[in-house]
Structure formats: structure tokens, C-alpha cells
Symmetry: C2
Subunit: 346 residues, 2 copies
Amino acid sequence: TRSIDLAVVAGDGIGTEVVEQGLAVLEAAVAGSDVKISTTEFDLGARRWHATGETLTDADLEAIKGHDAILLGAIGDPSVPSGVLERGLLLKLRFSLDHYVNLRPGKLYPGVTSPLANPGDVDFVVVREGTEGPYVGNGGALRVGTPHEIATEVSVNTAFGVERVVRDAFARAQARPRKHLTLVHKHNVLVHAGHLWRRTVEAVNADFPDVTTDYLHVDAATIFLTTNPSRFDVIVTDNLFGDILTDQAAAITGGIGLAASANINPDRTAPSMFEPVHGSAPDIAGQGKADPTATVLSVSLLLDHLGLTEESKRVEAAVAADLVERGDRVRTTAEVGRDLAARVNG
Amino acid sequence: TRSIDLAVVAGDGIGTEVVEQGLAVLEAAVAGSDVKISTTEFDLGARRWHATGETLTDADLEAIKGHDAILLGAIGDPSVPSGVLERGLLLKLRFSLDHYVNLRPGKLYPGVTSPLANPGDVDFVVVREGTEGPYVGNGGALRVGTPHEIATEVSVNTAFGVERVVRDAFARAQARPRKHLTLVHKHNVLVHAGHLWRRTVEAVNADFPDVTTDYLHVDAATIFLTTNPSRFDVIVTDNLFGDILTDQAAAITGGIGLAASANINPDRTAPSMFEPVHGSAPDIAGQGKADPTATVLSVSLLLDHLGLTEESKRVEAAVAADLVERGDRVRTTAEVGRDLAARVNG
Ligand SMILES: CC(C)[C@H](C(=O)O)[C@@H](O)C(=O)O
Ligand SMILES: CC(C)[C@H](C(=O)O)[C@@H](O)C(=O)O
């Protein structure tokens, strides 16, 4: 038997609801195999912060590090000042565990309606850098609340950080049929960071000569995501541009209810983290209305990362089959989870 | 007679072609009135840079400042290293002339096909800050070309700069039927800059009590631009987010061939600048294929800025009428210009 120790951070709002279903589908995927899942729940998020003032302590982090992977629901609540949980918990996990590959597939499954009139075949993956860029928290403010306030945000980009994520993106592109990589940045304005990204893509391309590349400014990328998303295969981009593009990608492929993500530490020096792209959606929390599909697809990415390729494929296939028949049917969170688990087993 | 002295910066690629038509329509709009247009052409862009190494000299800038407004075509050419003309010419104009309101309408005209299946009524305007944010050029790089390279980009935001553009956006919202303002930022990650923007919107709202407001993270804004663009009335946002959102806005409202913009100095301490959102499009330059409509709509914004409200409306009406009948007809740049000029006159 192989035992998998999972850290579970259900978090806030609909996080607990979707994670419950994600775990049920995970159990179904390994049922009858020699894989045993054990889970440790971490009480992190708004409730904990209100009770103790803590977001993520060193002890939490150490305990999480002892696990094979993390399943995360959603972080954030209107009762907590903006940024506290995002920076102190979610981003702290991504940065501390060196999740430098934030992987976000953009795939339009058969049966799913896109808001685009002619979406075409949409099947790309965004490799979003996860540990640098404008997300480093390297900003500050002076004379806050006065007419002389000045606030800065510093985007930090290193050759080390850019090369490793670019290399990962090339490897992913090479493994796909189209073998195409698009760098998205804004090097005509953000010349220092942008040129580092550009030179790095050119240099690493030498090690992946069969991968073709092109470049788009981030503004142009939003146009193509609207007019011709089929043109994309693998996109590599910085932390902030990746945040923006992957929400847009989710919108054109059936919405945030279906968008999965993996925060990967490819060197496996710490556990990787799997989470739906959506947030805690406080407006619908506790009502059984949230779609757990994005979490279930994140579970598929988790299984793949742990080498359980066949199980990963079965979970994705279950989702794909469910989507074909879904139509306008309204089901509760638990019903969708139950149906997906049944398909995974069946 | 009122004389209007226009600085014309046709620039690179299709810039010269579309500006020629923009000027023709401008002439048509004032024909028979007591307004006289005189133009000074400025040789700026790739040709000048190759010939002299200059992008925009102090003398150029002084000469331009003597004009009532600027009509700009497009800047940028693949033969010039990325960033040189953008930073040294286009952004230098915007920054030196204090164009702190970068105004970009997002309007789906009748007859125009949107790539969205159900676009709804799209009629919003983006007020993009034009003189701060990540565009300030406040970055640098160390150990360039080595494995220890580090590149930074600093977003600079001041109470002064944010307040003036927010105030302008509120005033525009107040003048529109829906009186709604959406702030777009990313204050859960870019906490210093984001909170400055948020607090400023809250404070200025007191002076515009009849304007309703809401807030979206930039990633969520790309979703709504895809799924429900009708929800937007006035958007106010920072320089980089505005760059991204306005290209996406162009995509959903018929493409970059129709997207107009105004770089406004509301204090009128220097001339404002009017330009299509599109770039120099070197791939189609010199072939008479470029659509001059975005430039013509920018001319409409120019006329409005100069107080020629009736002329401005006639130009926009000419474009609107042309778009209704346009269909899939293929016309040259000059033919579109001629047809629009005829409608303005007619
Ligand atoms: C909640 C927020 C900090 C986060 C991000 O910006 O990365 C989210 O938008 C995401 O994309 O996972
Ligand atoms: C060419 C470039 C510098 C410019 C910008 O980023 O502002 C363009 O994309 C625009 O939107 O006008």
C-alpha cells in the first residue's frame, strides 16, 4: 500500500463545501487500489484570524510541510481587511513552499457553453510564475491618509526565478502535440523585467529546439483570448499577468466554477498545492450552491502530480462526461460531488 | 474665425495612413464653419530614430506644446528595440504633457459584430490613469545577462495623482445617465497602491453623492467584460490595468480597428493627445488595409475636447451610420475615410 498524506485547507466561504466534494471524488478515485489517503485538516482562514489574530504560523507551515500535497478550498472573507488573508495565508503558502509553477489549464470541454460566439477548440495551459513579480509584497506607503501619500509596489524578477519557470513551461510545451509556447509580458513598457523574460525564453529555447515560440504583450493577449483562443497552447507569464489572463481564460471556458489550478513545486522540496481558481464567494456560501467541479479538476491535477496518472485521467474523464450531460440542470454542491464520484467509480 | 493649431504625429506603420483619413474627416467636420484647422507635422518615430538617434527632443516637445491638440497615429517598429520609442516618445509625450486622463470608450455600435455570443448593450468608458503606476519607468536591472540578474519595476502612486483622475472619473460618471463608477485594482495583493485607490474613491464619492460605486479586482473585471459587459458605466483604474482592460474592451466591441482614445490634460496646461488604441501594425502597413475608424473616432474625441461638441457628434454619427451598413464589405483605408468624410458633410 502507498499512503498519501494530504493537508486540507478548506478555508473560507464555499471552500469547505467544495473541498468536501473534492475529497469524496479523491476517495472514489483510489477506491479499490492500494493507495490510502489520510488527511489532516488545518483550521486556517477568517475564523482562525478572528479568534487568534493568526494567519499562518511557523508551526502551521512546518506541519503542512510534512504532507505529500495540499488541497485548498478558498481564502478570504469580507469581515477581514483586504490583503490580510491573501498575503498572510494564501500567498504565504505559495511563497514559503516555493510554488513557482502556478499551472492553470484553459480548456473548453464538450457540452460547456462559452460566452464567445465562436470559441473554437480551446485547450491551452497557463504557466503562471508563482513566487516573484508584483506579488512579492515589496511595496510600501509614506504619509498615508494625507494629500502627500505615496504608495509603491515593486515587481521583483530574477534570472533564477524566471529561468526555472520558463524551463518548466518549455517542458510542458514539448510534451504536448502542438509544442508551442507563448510568452506574455509587456516588455515595451516594463523594459527591465520584460527583457529578462524575453532573453530567458530565447536562451532556454535552445534546449527545446522543437518547441516554437511567440510573444504577445499582455494587452494583445486579452484580445486573442477573445477572438482566437485556439491559437494558444502553452502560455508562460509573470505572476500578475497570469492572474489576470487565467480569470479571463476561465470566463471563456465556462466560468470560474470549472477552473482548476495547481501551485507546483517541481523540485519537490515542499508539498504542492491544488485549489480551484475561484474565491470564497461569501454571497453563496453555506447554501449548497457552489459548483465543486473546479475543485474536482484540481484533484485530478493533484493525482497527476503524485504520479497517479490513471486515477487523474479517470477523474478528468468523469468531469468531462458530467459536463456533456449537464445542460441547465441545477444540482447542489453535494449532488455534483456524488455524481462525479459515482462516475469515477463506475 | 477660430483657428485650431494641430500637432500631427503620424508616426510609424499604418499611423500615416490612418492619420491622413482622420485629418480628412476633421476637415470635413469643420468645412463651412468659421473654424480653421492648421496642422504641423512632426517627424517622430522609427525613421527619425534611425536617422538621428532621437526619439523626442526638448525642442520637439516645446514646439508641440504650442499647439491646441495633438493627433497621433501609431508608434513602434520591429526595427527599433522594444521600449525605445514607447518609452522615449509615446509615453514621454503622455507624461511630459501631463495626460493624466487616458479616456477610452468601450461602445458596441449597432451593426458591429462582437465575438461575444450575447454582448448586450455595451456602452462604458474607461478612465485610465496616464502618468503614474507601473508606467513611470522607475525600474532597473542588476547583473544583466548573468544567472544573478535581477530586474525590478516600481509602480508609483500618489494621493495627488490618484485623486485627480478619480475626481475626473466621478465627474464623467455624474454626467452619464447611469451615474455608476467601478474602481478596478488588485488591492488584496497590491495592498499599498490598492488601498490608496480605494480610500480615494471612498473620499471623493462624498463630493459626488449621486454616483454609485463598486469595486472589482482586475482579474474579476476580465470575467465581467466577457460575461456581462453591460454592467459597466465608468471604470476608473491604474495605468497598467487600464492598458489591459481597454484592449479587452476593444476586442468585445468590434476590435482594435474601432477603438479610440484621448490622452487628456484636464487642466489644459498642455495640449491633449488623441490616438487610436491600435499600434503601428507593420504587417499590413503601406497596403491601404488599415481601418481608419479608430482614428476618426479619436478625432471626434478631439473635437469634443476643443468644445466643438456639435462637430464631434457629427463625426461619431457618421461612423455609427457607416458601421450599420458596413457588413463584410472590404474597403481601403482611403475609401473608408472618403465615405466617412462624405457622411460628415452630407
Ligand atoms: C486571492 C488572490 C490573492 C489570488 C491571486 O491573485 O493569486 C487569486 O486571485 C488567484 O488567482 O488565485
Ligand atoms: C504602445 C504602448 C506603450 C501603449 C501602452 O501600453 O499604453 C499601448 O498599448 C496603448 O495602450 O496605448
